[in-house]
């Protein structure tokens, strides 16, 4: 786990921008939130989003530091710059939240999501599905004579594109993990 350097509540060199531009443009931001892995903490974060009417596009959570008992929540959200700043500040108020990082503004970051797709088909369609999977570097993790389960990793856009292609070829089910994200380099 890469430590997050920024302490919540600090104003300089902080994830919080106390002087945001006030525009009506909807922006998409990926936030990394480091929390104590204790009962109810996810409910607190989700409850905040629903109570204050913020969007959640994607949310993932897992313990990342078993010794320190810390979980990392990655939230993809949309809003005007002012709303994004509010979301970060409100997250910072939650007592078990240690740090809030806005990966979208803090320099380059990598984002990945994993998906499983079940595709059913015979003959040409089945061959075509396999061929496209190969182009997208999706792996076959299960196969019957009439179906495949593909595993694909990539940006959410890549997974969207792959599922769009699979739909006419017999896409039955999709399971996605949501986005995991880290900043690039050692910063």
């Amino acid at each position: 786990m890469s430590p997050l350097h920024i302490k919540k509540g600090s104003t300089s060199h902080s994830a919080y921008n106390l002087r945001p531009t006030f525009s009506d443009v909807q922006e998409k931001h990926t936030l990394a939130v480091l929390v104590d892995n204790e009962a109810g903490v996810l409910a607190r974060v989700i409850g905040l989003f629903s109570a204050r009417g913020y969007n959640i596009e994607s949310l993932t959570v897992a313990e990342v530091d078993h010794v320190g008992g810390l979980s990392r929540i990655t939230v993809v959200t949309t809003g005007t710059p002012q709303v994004i700043e509010q979301i970060k500040a409100q997250l910072g108020r939650i007592v078990p939240v240690h740090d809030v990082h806005d990966l979208t503004v803090e320099g380059p970051a990598v984002e990945r999501e994993l998906a499983l797709l079940k595709v059913e088909g015979e003959g040409e369609k089945r061959v075509e599905a396999l061929r496209l999977a190969d182009i997208f570097r999706a792996n076959v993790v299960d196969s019957t004579l009439r179906s495949f389960v593909f595993e694909i990793t990539g940006t959410p856009e890549k997974i969207d594109a792959f599922s769009d292609l699979m739909r006419p070829l017999g896409l039955l089910e999709v399971a996605r993990t949501g986005v995991a994200a880290l900043s690039r380099g050692t910063a």
Binding site: S12, L18, R19, G40, A51, Q82, G92, R93, V95
Partner: protein, 584 residues
């Protein structure tokens, strides 16, 4: 040194170690072990309430009047759900309280057991933080952390839910010093860069105004002292929200009075026309701002707040300063003095001349004539006759609350407790008991409306049992006055369910409870009646029959700007448009 003891004993020990002397509570099956421990000691006084909502408001009153953390103890299920309104009230007004709830034993959680409720689930959004204690070994540090979280940063209510088996089991106790508190440590010192920027703005300002709020009070008496120093040194005018009254003395010559929906004309006009607004511990609440896009259009705005989420939440500010009011004011004064104590004296003189013109409007004027007591007159007399006393005021919610804020003057912080953010009818009576318990010899008065007062009137029993000589000064207009006022303005004078019918005889009610009842309906008798109330050694229910159709002015109607204030009856017809009427 750690000691072995039961969870129930740990609770009482932790309270003592946190300096708690009073607990407001109500017993039940799930907290019996804790009540058993309370029975066997003398260090902590338990005030038995009559309804758990009362316990929480008492704890709030106690906390606001002392600056300490207020504590409640209630049982599981209905005990916990009855506490929800008080928790929400404390959250909205940033009042530090710790509520301890009993819970069914851990092995029965989730089974719909008798008096089981998902207390941490229900109260998650109305507490600053809450804990379900699953193991007795965790109890000491959670108890200590609860006090730390409630009182540090922006204060607020916390709740600790303690299953009955955790209370019975034995574990090792640790004192506050011995536990490592979690990482929660809000920043109290402001950054010097924006503080210096604010000083520069203050040096140049032609029409500055301090807009202060409850944050000044929460920051401690030192912060109020610094505010006074800053105001006197700069000569800038100062106004305050409902929550901040008393931080700057009402008798001070820089005082503009309260601002906002029912604030004073001079205060709201100064807010609208200023060129530098210095918000100190207030949060641009909608009762303050009125129409957002017309809010103080010409000013540069600075905002000092310990909670970063308050900054830019509703109003965009130019100089944001995150930090504790006391710390920031200290730095601000230091920098301002070091740079030569500069202000634009010439411009300030003009600004004050303008303010004096607004003051001359005399926006609170009213005429006491005829045989009926005007509510304003009742408060004016109450103010005059209680001024010299060691006085604390609580209120209920409604017109009487706004008149109290307008007509009573507060010279010191922590002397005024009212439900601001949530506007909870039923707050004032229990809050007055909480204040009186903290200050047994003081004169504690609840300025009430008859409708609000009925909401928690059972607490008179508590007042009598614990000899809390609280004075219930009820401005009885036989109306849900504030509702009636809005119906008059917004709903074509159709007074749907806004009158108080079948009211009790308050004097007989007082006798039934075992305290004194006074009724007054004549302006000529009012002074004597008030003195009788003050001089009576015990609780009093004072039924002050007042004019039934009086409206509270000034008023900024919903959806209007500060400079569109209504000053009196003549101006009220058709003033609120469709857009304004959807607002509350």
């Amino acid at each position: 040194m750690t000691r072995q003891m039961t969870g129930a004993k740990m609770v009482v020990q932790a309270l003592k170690d946190q300096g708690v002397d009073t607990v407001f509570g109500y017993p039940g099956g799930a907290v019996l072990p804790i009540y058993d421990e309370i029975f066997q000691q003398n260090g902590i006084r338990h005030i038995l309430v009559r309804h758990e909502q009362g316990a929480v408001h008492m704890a709030e009153g106690y906390a606001r009047a002392t600056g300490k953390v207020g504590v409640c103890l209630v049982t599981s299920g209905p005990g916990a759900t009855n506490a929800v309104t008080g928790l929400t009230d404390a959250l909205m007004d940033s009042i530090p309280i710790v509520v301890l709830t009993g819970q069914v034993p851990t092995f029965m959680i989730g089974s719909d057991a008798f008096q089981e409720a998902d207390t941490v689930g229900i109260t998650r959004s109305c507490t600053k933080h809450n804990w379900l204690v699953r193991d007795t070994e965790d109890l000491p540090h959670i108890m200590h952390e609860a006090f730390h979280v409630a009182s540090s940063g922006r204060p607020g209510p916390v709740l600790v839910d303690i299953p009955k088996d955790v209370q019975f089991a034995t574990g090792s106790y640790a004192a506050p010093k011995e536990v490592k508190l979690a990482h929660y440590a809000p920043k109290v010192k402001g950054d010097m860069e924006p503080i210096t920027e604010l000083v520069e703005a203050m040096e140049q300002a032609k029409r500055p105004v301090f807009y202060t709020g409850g944050g000044v009070i929460n920051s401690g008496t030192g912060a109020s002292q610094l505010l006074r120093e800053l105001v006197e040194a700069t000569g800038f005018p100062v106004t305050s929200t409902l929550m901040g009254l008393g931080a700057y003395p009402a008798s001070g010559d820089k005082w503009l009075g309260m601002l906002g929906m029912h604030g004073l004309y001079e205060a709201n006009m100064a807010m609208h026309d200023c060129d530098l607004m210095i918000n100190i511990g207030a949060r641009f609440d909608d009762r303050i701002t009125g129409r957002i896009d017309a809010f103080s259009p010409k000013s540069k705005k600075a905002h000092i707040d310990i909670d970063p989420s308050s900054i830019n939440k509703v109003i965009r500010v130019d100089i944001p300063i995150v930090g504790d009011v006391g710390h920031v004011l200290e730095d601000l004064l230091k920098v301002w003095k070091a740079r030569g104590r500069k202000t634009n004296k010439e411009a300030l003189a003009k600004w004050w001349a303008q303010i004096d013109k607004w003051r001359a409007v005399d926006c609170l004027k009213f005429k006491q004539e005829g045989p009926t007591i005007k509510p304003q007159y009742a408060l004016q007399r109450l103010e005059a006759l209680t001024k010299g006393y060691d006085r604390y005021i609580t209120t209920e919610v409604g017109q009487h609350q706004m008149w109290a804020a307008q007509f009573l003057g507060f010279e010191d912080p922590n002397r005024w407790m009212t439900s601001g953010g949530l506007g909870t009818m039923g707050y004032g009576l229990p809050a007055s008991i909480g204040v009186q318990v903290a200050h047994p010899d003081a004169l504690v008065i609840n300025v009430a409306g008859e409708a609000s007062w009925l909401m928690n009137m059972q607490e008179m029993g508590t007042a009598i049992q614990f000899r809390a000589p609280v004075k219930q000064f009820i401005l009885n207009n036989e109306r849900l006055g504030m509702v009636r006022q809005w119906q008059e303005l917004l709903h074509g004078e159709r007074y749907s369910h806004s009158w108080s019918e079948a009211l009790p005889d308050f004097v007989k009610l007082a006798e039934a409870f075992g305290c004194k009842g006074i009724k007054c309906d004549n302006p000529a008798d009012l002074d004597d009646a008030i003195m009788e109330m003050i001089n009576y050694d015990g609780p009093v229910i004072f039924d002050c029959l007042v004019e039934k159709h009086e409206n509270c002015f000034p008023m900024i109607p919903s959806g209007k700007a500060h400079n569109e204030m209504l000053l009196g009856e003549a101006e009220t017809k058709g003033v609120i448009d469709a857009k304004g009427s959807v607002l509350v």
